[in-house]
Amino acid sequence: MVRHSGRSTATEELQPIAPSKLSIEEVSKSFKTASGPVLALDRVSLSVAESEFVCLVGASGCGKSTLLNIIAGLEKPDSGAVLADGKPVTEPGRERLVMFQEPALFPWLDVVGNVLFGLNLKHNLTRKDRRDVARYYLELVGLSRFERANIHELSGGMKQRVSLARALAPNPRVLLMDEPFAALDALTREQFYGDIQEIWKSRRKTIVFVTHNVREAACLGDRVLVFSPHPGRIQAEFRIDLPRPRDINSVDLAAHATRIKEGLMMHRKTEPVPK
């Protein structure tokens, strides 16, 4: 759906937007460290279909977050390219919004102010429409009552909900999630699994989700890609064809998780990870 120039209303703004197709082509990236250069990504190629939910799993330091940052446009690859709907990604932008492990909310703004931040950069909306859109997403994540709250007054889970609302509000085509639930307690996290599947179903986004939690990956992804470190490569790929919504505690899911874990471990056996 192409946004027409000129004014648009809150109702139009809230229409689902066509999700992007991503294609990552031969992306390499190395970092200089005190002990010499480290190849974080070694000619990684990957394509993500429209409105596909792809999970990247791997041990810490395997380059999965680096890949996410490159897709976001926050970092540049040394070689290779990322294409979103056929166009090369050269800079960050609201078509591909990132949700970080930390909520990264702005403490000088209240809850609704944070959700409005990205919307305020959409000049085709009136003030009132922006507010309506922000309120819609706050309701979606169940925080309507906390519109006027200060950030420091929220719990960790609530902060991450605001962060999700903030990422959804500008209606991106792609949602990039970098271990967004890693710092939350188990109960809060399980609630998120249900919510995120529901939101993904109703808003139709392409999602790339980075995690080191194998069960989480099996619960959320259409496809799970296992990364191996040093150099960072895609080691194995698993298609999860369980019906949705999926329950993190189901037996079928556990079977998938076990397979993925074996994929991860296989690599460990052949090449011990130097610490």
């Binding site: 976001a72 446009g73 926050l74 960050p92 932008g93 609201r94 591909r96 919004l97 990132v98 970080f100 930390e102 990264a104 702005f106 403490p107 000088w108 703004l109 209240d110 931040f117 990205g118 950069l121 200060n150 950030i151 420091h152 007054e153 903030r166 500008p170 990039l176």
Partner: protein, 255 residues
């Protein structure tokens, strides 16, 4: 209410102590006037307009110089935070000059500008600007990089990031720098007014100085009180509400 009563009784106690010291004649009444004498001077000076006139002149110098200092200091601090070259040069200069008590600028200001308003202004600006530069620089450097990254992905760019992310994120530092700058400016202006008689207007410092020359201690003490009250008011009216807001938003204090 209890806090208010406590404060009132504290100051009443101070007043009684003063009266007692006066009555015991530890010092000659010429050196230590009674609270009543000071009060009478204040009443007289307020009635004939001297006090008001002097306060207006002083505040005009202070506010003009202070605003000028902030207007120069803020962008300079942003620039030193942004460009390493400027940090190594201007930043170091600012750090050095901040440690220099701004009274030290008075002789130089006199030689450069003569006994003029410009000399007064110069001293106030020098008192303000370096604190603001250093606080802004520190504030910007302490902004968590994740804020910038989050803003970038939401489509925020250069100027928008500076005004909507980096500056607000640095605000607690900037405000404390502005408060320090205000204190330095106030001190240096008083010093300048006591040292230098500028014919274009007699400020509070000059009234204090005349009081000393005339051996009128009640005038000296009265002006000192006025200076203290102005300092307190500036803090309560301007800085306290801003700080309270910051504390509430950031959650940095229990109040």
């Amino acid at each position: 209410m209890r806090r208010f009563l406590l404060a009132v009784s504290f100051f009443l106690g101070l007043l009684l102590l003063w009266q007692w010291l006066f009555q015991m004649r530890f010092w000659s009444p010429v050196l230590l006037p009674s609270p009543l004498q000071v009060w009478l001077y204040l009443k007289g000076a307020a009635a004939d307009g001297t006090l008001f006139h002097a306060a207006v002149i002083t505040m005009r110098r202070l506010i003009t110089g202070y605003l000028l200092g902030v207007i120069i200091g803020l962008p300079l601090g942003l620039a030193t935070a942004r460009f390493q070259v400027l940090r190594d040069t201007m930043g170091t200069l600012a750090l050095g000059l901040q440690t220099l008590p701004s009274v030290c600028w008075v002789p130089l200001a006199l030689l450069w500008f003569g006994q003029t308003e410009a000399a007064m202004l110069f001293v106030v600006v020098m008192g303000t600007v370096w604190s603001v530069v250093i606080a802004t620089d520190t504030g910007v450097r302490n902004v968590p990089p994740i804020f910038r990254r989050a803003a970038l992905t939401m489509g925020s760019k250069r100027l928008h990031i500076w005004f909507k992310v980096i500056l607000p994120a640095a605000l607690p530092f900037v405000v404390s720098g502005m408060k320090q700058g205000w204190a330095f400016a106030w001190r240096s202006l008083m010093a300048a007014e006591i040292f230098v008689t500028v014919l274009t207007g007699f400020g509070l410092g000059q009234l204090l100085h005349f009081g000393r020359e005339l051996n009128a201690m009640e005038q000296v003490i009265a002006i000192m009180l006025v200076i203290v009250v102005i300092g307190l008011l500036a803090d309560k009216i301007f800085f306290s509400p801003v700080e309270r807001f910051l504390h509430r938003r950031w959650g940095t204090s229990q109040a």
